[in-house]
Structure formats: C-alpha cells, structure tokens
Amino acid sequence: MSENRLEIRNLHARIAGGADILKGVDLIVPAGEVHALMGQNGSGKSTLAKVMAGDPSYEITDGDILVDGESVLEMEPDERARAGLYLAFQYPVEVPGVSIANFLRLAINARRDEDDEIGVMEFYEKLQNAVKELDWDDSIIERNLHEGFSGGEKKRSEILQLLVLEPKYAILDETDSGLDVDALKTVSQGVNAARGENFGALVITHYQRLLNHIVPDKVHVMSEGRVITTGEKELAMELDQKGYDWIKDTVAAGA
C-alpha cells in the first residue's frame, strides 16, 4: 500500500472562535508530483496552507492532515516540519539579527540527532549550491533573515530554504505574487530543481502565469472553503481564459 503522499481529509478549520473558513477540504498530493491549487481571494487557499503548517491562530474542527499516512494534527509546527512539511510563506516575517546562514544551520540540525550535527563545510556547500541555483549572490547568507529584503527577495529566500531543508512536501503559498517575470523564472527554477521522486508540492496561485514555469501534474480548484474540482494541467489554462465563475457554474451544473 502506497502511503507516500500528503493527504487532507475533510478538513474544517476556523480562526479561533469564528466561523469555519475551511469547510471540508479533500486533497491528495502523492510524492513525486506537483499540484496546483487555484482559487479566488477568500476561497480558503492561504488558510489551508497555514493550517497545514500548524499556525496556532487557527483551530481545526474536523478532518485530518496526513503525511505519508501519519496524522500531523496533534503535532506542533516544528514537529510537522521535521515530519517533512514545508510552507513557503506568502508574507515571510523578518527576524532581525539572525543571519540566514545561522538560521538554516539551526534548522538543519533540528532535523538531526544531537550528536550528528551537520559539518560546517558540508553545510556551506549545500547552502552555496542553493544560492547558485537561485542566481543569488553568496553574500546573501550573511544577511539577517529578511531584514530589509524586498518582496521578491523574501520569496526567493523561501525557495532557498526549501532547497536547503529538502522537505518531503512543500506548500507554496502564492510564491508568485509580487514577482516580476525574471524573479518568477528564478523562483520556478528553484522549485523545479527540488522536483523528484521523493518530493511533492502544492503550489497555491491565482494565476496561470506561474504554471507555465512550474508545470503541475494536477490542478485543484478551491471555492468557499472546499476543493470543488480537480483536473489536468490544461484546467489552469482554461480557468485563466474563462474565469472562476465558469468553473463554479460548470461544477454546479455537473453536480
């Protein structure tokens, strides 16, 4: 039985005390595949991303999230990360005084046994390779985490971290928003470099544009807190041309 997948089952979630934002999300991303998750503003995409990563401002009222068959619901955000989940944030925060290099070394070592910390040379090699993959300057690793970064640089940093931390499953929350064409290419190049048999990703976006660079295996469409339809990569293109009302109507008619 193949359990190598990221699975969301009937997930309901809300901001503590509020009404449900997620109203029964079902979604499967098998290892080795990249899926797109599309939907209008307010459809629940970003909430889903944050809930999966364990954002404490949300509470889950029903359903489950499974990584390779194992529920992560009871896990703290750091445990989920160590279980292989990674969220590329839509709005990464700044952490003043903490350099990217120090931060990432700590994050890698958090995944390893105490007596098996990563060697300094091995770490820097890994980090520098990732920096190169993103056409970035080496000096970036000594800069403090997102301090004074432009929006584009922050997004690039999220992908840099993805390449260094090598998660099993990544959720990219509107990584394309606010990027110019060149930055979009670079970021996509990074994500494509991570693709492989042991890597699954859920790419959240409004626009087809990103999916020209990161070609998805499947496309899911979210509306009003649920995944209303799933299709092949062509669905994104069609959606782009015909709009979200079209898909809503189509789904409603089909149902």
């Binding site: 954002d55 925060v93 952490v95 931060f103």
Partner: protein
C-alpha cells in the same frame, strides 16, 4: 546576634599574609577573617588595619562613611527596601569573600545546576561559588604577565596596587568617582576591597584583553570591588570582567566602583557580563573621564541579581573625545534591571553613542535610565541614543527614562526608543522550519541582542547566549 560569627582569634597575626599568599590558595584555605555585621567606624578601622593601609586611605574611608551617613540612600529608582545594612558583612577575608559559604555542599542546588549546565568544570565552579581556586587560569596569567611587565603594564588586584604603586594610585584614586558622588559610591569608598588596578603606560597597546579572571582570587568578584584603570596618552587596552556563571554570594549586596581615566588619544574598552545570583542587590558606579581625542567604550551585560542599578558613564572632557555605552539587561521573574548610561559632553567636538537593549520576562522589569548632557561651550557635540526593549510575555514590564539636557545650540542629538513584544508570527515562522518553540524564542532574543553581542569577544558572546537561553527556560507556555 547569637549567630554573628566572631573574628578569627588569630586574625591579628594574619595581618599581612593576604598579599604574600595571594596565589597560594592551598595555604590560605585555613585562614579567614570576617568583619561583624553592619557598617560603622570600627568595622572600617579594622578593615584598614587588617590590610595595613596607609593613613590616607583610612582617612579616606572614614570620610566616605560620614558622607554615606549624611547622604542616605537615593529616593528614586527601584525598590531597595529589602536591603538591610545591619545584616551585611562589609568585609570578608578573600577566600571567604563570596559569602558565608565555604563548603560546596552549602551552595544552593539551583546555582550548582546552572554551573553544570554551562559546562563549567567542577574546579572552576568551586571558584565561582567561592569555595576553591582556579589553578589553570593562573598558568595563562603568569605567561601573559611577564609580557605585560616588559611593557610597563601594571595589572594587579587593587589592594596590591595600593601597596606596590602608591604614587600612581594616590594620584588617580577617587578622582573619577569621589565618595560625594552618590550614596553607594560612598559606601563602596568606605569599605572597598579587591577589584583590579590597571596602568597602561603612554603609547603602549595591549593586544590581548586584560581579563579580571586572570587575577582570580575570590576578592576580585567580591562585594565591594574597586577598579581603577589608567590609560596614559596613546595607550590602548581592553579590560574584560567576565563573570558569566552566576556569582554566588550569600551576602545580598554588591556595590562596586569602577573608575577609568582615558588620557589623550588613548583607546579603552571595558566589557563586563555579570550574572549575579537572584538575591543580590547590585548597585554599581562605573565612570570614565575621557580626555582629548580619546575613545572610551563600555559594554555592560546585566543578568541575574534581584535589583541592579548601573549606568556606566563617560565624561567627555577633552576636545574630540568619544564615548560609547552599550548595555544588555535581562530581567527575569521578580528581577528589576535599572540600567542605561550617562554621557556628559564638556568639550567641543565630542561625540557619544548609547545603545541599550533590555529583555523582560515573567514578573521582571527592566528600565532604561539615561542622561545626555551637553555643556555650554561644548560646541558641535553629537550624541545618539537608541534603547530597545523586548517583552517576552504579557506580565513583564519595561520603563524608559531618557533625560537630555542641552545647553549648546550646535548640538546634534538623536534619540530612538522601541518596545516590542515577542512576536507570535516570528515564532511560528521559525517553528515551521523545524526549530522548537523555546529555541525559536531564544533565537529571536539572540537576534535582538546581536548588535551589542557582536562587540564581545567570541567566547563571551557564546557564553552570553547560553546564559540567556538558561534564563529563558520556562518562558514557553
């Protein structure tokens, strides 16, 4: 007072042994002398006689006592009502200085546990706890000492400094912090013991930091240490007093005075990280007189203690003098850190910078108290003050008392103050990368302190971080 220990019956015979036996801990272990509790003329006369001091020092001490009695404790600042002089030993013979404890078993488990977790070897732990001696550092010290002596550098404990270099000593002693300055300086002047005496001749640059622990006998980290540092014109030095393990002191009062004279074109840095046990009132006066084109930097880290009041200051008295004060304070549960800095611009073209970073946790409170004063005639003075406070939870507090007095139109003053709470979003972000919650908080705090911590020598910065992590334990929740 049935429990008040009597002076050692052989105390008189022991007079004078102190200096000869300074590095001979094995011999001195069996000797001790302790004053009676309380502060009065008799206690001071005994201290001075015991140390075989010149008459002028006894006179100085007695005058300081009068001043202290006249002044009385300050009526501003943190609550010091728990401090009772009648219950304090004002002089304890060196190996006893750390308190009434002389057995490892008597050190509270909490302090011993902290030593263990800091990874301090047991021999060193015992020194810090005041129950043993550190032999290894002596070896290091002796080789450096030879080199320094060739350059004419004097680096001694203050009592020995007074004995061996009376002229230099008398010329400078109490010229920076006279007993009239403040109540606690007066108390210190009356009962001072230990501390470091440093003299750097003109033009000599000392590359290796002079570290107080080289002089480690319990005296140096004692209750009423008096440090006097003199940098002659063009001299350069960095003095480090690193007491990063919690200094266990069963007596609950520490009141030091640090005097620094930075003469023309000299470059002096004084760095200290102090971590007092949580029952200590830590009231210290640190001041430097900075002459023409000289540069003075204080780096002051305050952890532990019950109450700390400490405002390192720079008096910029020469044209072009520069003063810098960087401080870190961590107020844990039930602690009050009242720290900051003071700069007096008394000459033209002087400049200064104050950077203060404080962290408060639980029922802790940290205050920034600072003064920038620009005298009339001190033209083109520049000063920049930045104080940042970080609150780790909902219960901790912070205050800012920035005083600025400008009597000169050409002054340029910058002041910036921020208060922030430990940010949930930052914690979640770091956790989402696999870092545990407590480690995430520690990382944010380290980042907050980084602009100051990076000025410390690496080993001290590392130890500071470990200390902060220990202090932060239990913050999660």
């Amino acid at each position: 007072m049935a429990d008040a220990p009597m002076p050692h019956p052989d105390a008189d015979k022991l007079t004078g042994m102190q200096h000869e036996k300074q590095y001979d801990f094995q011999l001195s272990e069996s000797y001790f002398y302790k004053s009676e509790k309380g502060l009065n003329k008799e206690v001071i006369e005994k201290i001075s006689a015991f140390k075989e001091e010149p008459q002028w020092m006894l006179d100085f001490r007695l005058r300081a006592l009068e001043i202290a009695e006249r002044k009385g404790p300050p009526k501003w600042g943190p609550d010091l009502s728990g401090l009772n002089f009648d219950d304090i030993y004002f002089y304890v013979r060196p190996q006893e200085q750390q308190g009434t404890t002389n057995s490892w078993e008597d050190i509270p488990e909490e302090v011993r546990e902290t030593y263990r977790r800091l990874g301090i070897p047991e021999a060193e732990q015992k020194v810090l706890a005041g129950v043993g001696a550190q032999y290894e550092s002596e070896m290091v010290y002796h080789s450096l000492k030879e080199e320094w002596e060739k350059q004419g550098v004097i680096f001694l404990d203050t009592d020995t400094g007074l004995k061996e270099h009376p002229e230099i000593f008398k010329e400078h002693f109490a010229t920076v912090v006279p007993p009239e300055d403040n109540y606690y300086a007066a108390v210190n002047s009356a009962v001072w013991s230990g501390g470091s005496f440093v003299y750097i001749p003109a033009g000599v640059e000392v590359d290796v930091p002079l570290q107080a622990y080289f002089l480690l006998n319990a005296q140096n980290i004692g209750q009423f240490e008096r440090t006097l540092i003199i940098a002659e014109p063009g001299a350069k030095m960095h003095y480090i007093e690193g007491c990063t393990a919690p200094t266990y002191n069963s007596d609950s009062f520490h009141s030091g005075v640090i005097e620094i004279i930075a003469k023309e074109r000299s470059d002096v840095r004084y760095s200290t990280i102090q971590n007092w046990s949580h029952n200590v009132y830590n009231l210290v006066t640190q001041r430097a007189i900075v002459h023409e084109q000289a540069s003075m930097g204080w780096l002051d880290g305050n952890l532990g203690s019950k109450v700390t009041m400490k405002y390192p200051s720079c008096y910029l008295v020469g044209n072009g003098a520069y003063g810098e004060i960087m401080s870190i304070a961590f107020a844990g549960d039930g602690q009050h850190q009242d720290a900051g800095g003071k700069v007096v611009h008394a000459a033209p073209n002087t400049s200064s910078s104050i950077v203060s970073k404080s962290i408060s946790k639980g029922e802790g409170c940290s205050s920034y108290r600072g003064l920038v004063q620009i005298h009339e005639g001190a033209t083109n003075a520049k000063s920049n003050v930045e104080c940042d406070a970080l609150l780790l939870d909902e219960t901790s507090k912070t205050n800012t008392y920035p005083y600025i007095e400008i009597n000169e139109k050409t002054a340029h003053i910058g002041h910036e103050a921020t208060v922030s709470k430990l940010n949930e979003e930052q914690i979640f972000y770091l956790q989402s990368r696999g870092i545990e919650e407590d480690e995430a908080m520690a990382l944010i705090v380290r980042g907050f302190l980084e602009p100051v911590a990076k000025e410390l020598p690496l080993e001290y910065a590392v130890e500071l971080n470990r200390l902060i992590e220990l202090e932060m334990e239990g913050s999660v929740g």
